[in-house]
């Protein structure tokens, strides 16, 4: 037997083996490369959403870290302020970090408990600040103030509103920070906005009842007078320092004769305090 014999004998093999190997008549038997591509595609289907989710998570974490860092920085700045020490900074940090806890407490329809929880958290979050005893009262006041918008409505819903919206909270914080900075500036100069109780206008003279007698430095306080035109927007009429129009500090008497006010309703702003009066 030789190679030619084998070659001839191979012509007699079973037709099913000839047909099995007939690539020209059938599909290729081992499409391995295709399966590799499918495997790569499957990998991409899993990997791309996973990477996107990871990226999103990292960005959210970094954003939160950045916000927390800036808040802690502002808290530190506030701590150095003589007039507004630890309690304000503590309240900011505690309010932010534990706003969820406050929300949970508030959603249990107990406004007082929510305020209390927030106040406690404030102190818990700032253990190193060692706020003075008196400042605990300020904490409670701050907690109350942050939710005081809800006065007159259902306590639970008001607390939920106050605690439930981050944007509302952040807006409140920004406003509080601005007021704090103003007060801080005035305090440094020894200026404190008086608490205005009642105002009467007659013949160009405005007499204002204040809760406490004004100190001599009150002449440096800024004032402004605006007219309420009924459209909801106030028209500024005059502004300057209190000394410009001050006739007498006790009772607080202001000379507005130069303005020659017509009949209407006006608003006096002194520092951060405001009061309305009517000109007949």
């Amino acid at each position: 037997m030789n190679g030619n014999d084998l070659m001839n004998a191979l012509s007699g093999i079973d037709p099913k083996y000839i047909d099995e190997a007939a690539f020209e008549l059938h599909e290729s038997p081992a499409p391995k490369k295709t399966s590799k591509i499918v495997r790569i595609n499957r990998f991409a289907l899993i990997a791309i959403p996973a990477a996107a989710a990871l990226l999103l998570t990292v960005s959210v974490v970094l954003t939160r870290m950045h916000v927390g860092k800036s808040e802690s920085t502002s808290a530190g700045t506030a701590m150095t302020d003589a007039a507004y020490p630890a309690p304000e900074a503590a309240s900011e940090a505690a309010y932010d970090a534990d706003s969820e806890a406050a929300f949970d407490a508030a959603s249990e329809a107990d406004y007082d408990m929510a305020s209390e929880a927030a106040g406690e958290d404030m102190m818990d979050m700032a253990p190193g600040l060692e706020a003075p005893e008196a400042s605990k009262g300020d904490n409670a006041a701050a907690a109350e103030a942050s939710t005081s918008d809800a006065t007159g409505s259902s306590a639970a819903s008001a607390a939920s509103e106050t605690s439930g919206s981050d944007s509302t909270l952040s807006a409140d914080f920004e406003e509080a920070e601005l007021n704090d900075s103003e007060r801080s500036y005035e305090s440094k100069k020894g200026l404190t906005s008086p608490i205005l109780e009642e105002a009467e206008y007659e013949d160009g003279i405005l007499t204002v009842t204040v809760k406490e007698a004004l100190p001599p430095s009150a002449k440096e306080l800024k004032y402004s007078i605006t007219a309420a035109d009924g459209s909801g927007s106030d028209t500024p009429l005059a502004e300057g320092t209190l000394g410009d129009i001050l006739l007498a500090p006790d009772p607080l008497t202001l000379d507005l004769t130069d303005l020659d006010l017509p009949a209407g309703t006006y608003t006096l702003t002194l520092g951060t305090s405001t009061i309305s009066f009517t000109c007949k």
């Binding site: 004998a9 037709p15 000839i18 099995e20 290729s28 081992a30």
Partner: protein, 185 residues
């Protein structure tokens, strides 16, 4: 058209049987012939001889797999033509390479030993039945269809060297099998 319908045409002695065969299996037969004779004119001659053989044998036979039946016929014609044109010297095509590889199995003894071809085919079938599908396809493509190694590698998604080593191992197993069956190699 289905195989049995074409076979019916042969049995009905309809000339359209050749046309339908050429439509369905023309390129398949041409590929086999080209692998062996490596010449387009010779391969066309092989195809015509194959259709004539099918026309002459069909009333007696009724193949279930018409493609395989035609493949075996054209392979025989192509090998005969190859041997006729390469009687003086060995060729350099795939057929010569495949024959050289089969010589590793069967040796170079003369054909005077009177080998029973049908029995040898039976043994080859048994050997093939013991292989896995990929091994069997590689063996049949190389030694029946006389495919180049690159084509087999491409179709089986393997490297050419992997196909080469696979065929080397298969030839070794084939030789061992034939010796076990009593062939003197």
């Amino acid at each position: 058209m289905q195989d049995h319908e074409i076979v019916d045409l042969y049995w009905a002695r309809s000339e359209s049987a050749i046309t339908e065969t050429n439509v369905k299996y023309g390129s398949y037969c041409r590929k086999i012939a080209m692998n062996i004779v490596d010449n387009s004119e010779d391969s066309e001659e092989c195809i015509n001889d194959t259709y004539l053989s099918a026309w002459n044998t069909m009333p007696q036979e009724r193949p279930e797999l018409l493609g395989s039946y035609l493949a075996a016929i054209i392979r025989n014609h192509a090998l005969t033509l190859y041997r006729k044109t390469h009687s003086q010297k060995r060729g350099a095509g795939q057929t010569a390479l495949a024959l050289d590889e089969l010589l590793e199995v069967a040796g170079t003894s003369s054909t005077e030993d009177m080998v029973d071809m049908s029995l040898l085919s039976e043994h080859i079938n048994r050997f093939l039945s013991g292989l896995n599908k990929n091994e069997r396809i590689a063996f049949v493509r190389r030694y029946f269809y006389v495919d180049p190694l690159t084509d087999i590698a491409s179709k089986l998604s393997m490297s050419e060297s992997a196909v080469k080593s696979l065929l080397f191992r298969l030839r070794g197993r084939f030789k061992t099998y034939l010796m076990k069956e009593g062939y003197e190699l």
